[in-house]
């Protein structure tokens, strides 16, 4: 019995290894795919017409070439939270008292939480220039409310005015605004008879609709890479509210259990 528990997984792993090795995916001589080379060549090149002038190719591909896919991926999280809300039992009745953690934990959390928030905002705003983006910034941000909820009990978030209804509203707003931003090229193409695609950001070989890469403000010129910066900010809001809500519901559920027994 014990032997089988080691042998079967190793056989599965070996089988996968042989499968991938024979298909050439594991080969040492493999190089970049042609699609990847095209992306790397055109996206950061300021003189090409297919460019969004984003230095971070991953974020550029996520919000330009794969924007439609990314939108539905954001909605998956949204629907998961709605399902959680439906399954989680009533939020209001909590049996027993909940205690916050010791002064050490609370003090360290108070120091750490603002730093985490600032770092996450920086990650989200510089998504098209340095590694990062909306998802990554949002995922970093959630650590702050999670720590605060663990240290001060889940009431902390409500006492600061962020009720779950407000968070859910913000979450829905983020997803809706992303969808509307993706629809702009289509509306434009209907009104002017120029070919344009959903979530298009920069020119494509058969469509020359594109957003300006720079934003002129009275103070300075900012590189926004078309819609990428806007979508990153919206995605940041959507992901951070979504995960905060998720952890809020989970913390409430666990507190209920701990308080009841």
């Amino acid at each position: 019995m014990k032997k089988l528990e080691v042998v079967i997984p190793i056989v599965i792993g070996l089988g996968l290894f042989i499968l991938l090795y024979n298909s050439g995916l594991l080969s040492v001589e493999r190089s970049l795919t042609t699609l990847a080379e095209k992306y790397l060549e055109y996206i950061p090149d300021a003189s090409s017409i297919y460019t969004s002038m984003a230095f971070e190719v991953v974020t550029a591909v996520i919000w330009d070439q794969r924007g439609f896919d990314t939108y539905f991926e954001t909605s998956v999280l949204f629907f998961a939270i709605i399902a959680t809300l439906a399954i989680a039992s009533k939020l209001e009745d909590i049996i027993g008292e909940r205690r916050s953690l010791t002064i050490i934990v609370r003090l360290v959390t108070r120091i750490l939480a603002p730093i985490i928030v600032v770092v996450s905002i920086s990650i989200a705003l510089h998504g098209h220039i340095t590694p990062g983006g909306g998802f990554q910034g949002g995922a970093v941000f959630v650590i702050a409310p999670l720590l605060l909820m663990l240290a001060y009990t889940s009431d902390w978030i409500r006492s600061r005015g962020f009720t779950d209804r407000k968070l859910l509203l913000l979450r829905g707003l983020g997803v809706t605004l992303i969808a509307l931003a993706g629809l702009i090229p289509v509306v434009y193409s209907y009104t002017t008879n120029i070919n344009a695609y959903l979530f298009q950001n920069q020119a494509k070989p058969d469509s020359f609709f594109n957003y300006p890469a720079y934003l002129q403000t009275p103070i300075s010129t900012i590189l926004v890479s078309g819609t990428i910066m806007l979508l990153n900010i919206l995605e940041f809001i959507a992901v951070l509210t979504g995960f905060t809500l998720a952890f809020y519901y989970l913390t409430r559920e666990f507190e209920k259990r701990g308080g009841g027994e």
Partner: protein
């Protein structure tokens, strides 16, 4: 030679992790263990995708060092060509960024459903749940 051995060794380790987690999901009766192994399986697949994006001479992430928001410094075409020669494949990383959020959404649903199961049946072990609900 050593480089090649290491190359295959890393791939084999990742696939072994996938093998162990698949076996665990199928065999372990406890739901929390299933959830933990599910997360390990997902993370192993992400690492496998990143690994598939590597080439032997790739030393850079797919990010071109380009100054700041207000003073971007664009590199010339020859610089970009040299950069392509030493960078990893960006496409697997694009998949992973979306996959991580979906993975978290799935995990969230699993967690909340198991919480409900624990409250309804008083246990998270699947064989016992079957006894309590009287399916067999």
């Amino acid at each position: 030679m050593i480089e090649e051995l290491l190359w295959y060794y890393i791939g084999f380790t990742i696939l072994l992790t996938i093998g162990f987690s698949i076996y665990g999901i199928a065999v372990r009766p406890h739901l929390v263990k299933k959830m933990a192994l599910f997360t390990i399986l997902g993370d192993a697949v992400y690492v496998l995708l990143v690994y598939l994006g590597y080439t032997l001479n790739s030393t850079n992430p797919p990010v071109i060092p380009g100054g700041s928001l207000e003073n971007p410094v664009f590199s010339s075409k020859t610089d970009i060509q040299r950069f392509i020669g030493s960078t990893v494949d960006p496409i697997p990383q694009v998949f992973i960024v979306t996959a991580i959020v979906i993975g978290l959404a799935v995990f969230l649903l699993l967690a909340i459903v198991s919480l409900r199961i624990a409250r309804e049946y008083g246990t998270l072990i699947t064989t016992k749940i079957r006894e309590v609900s009287g399916d067999e």
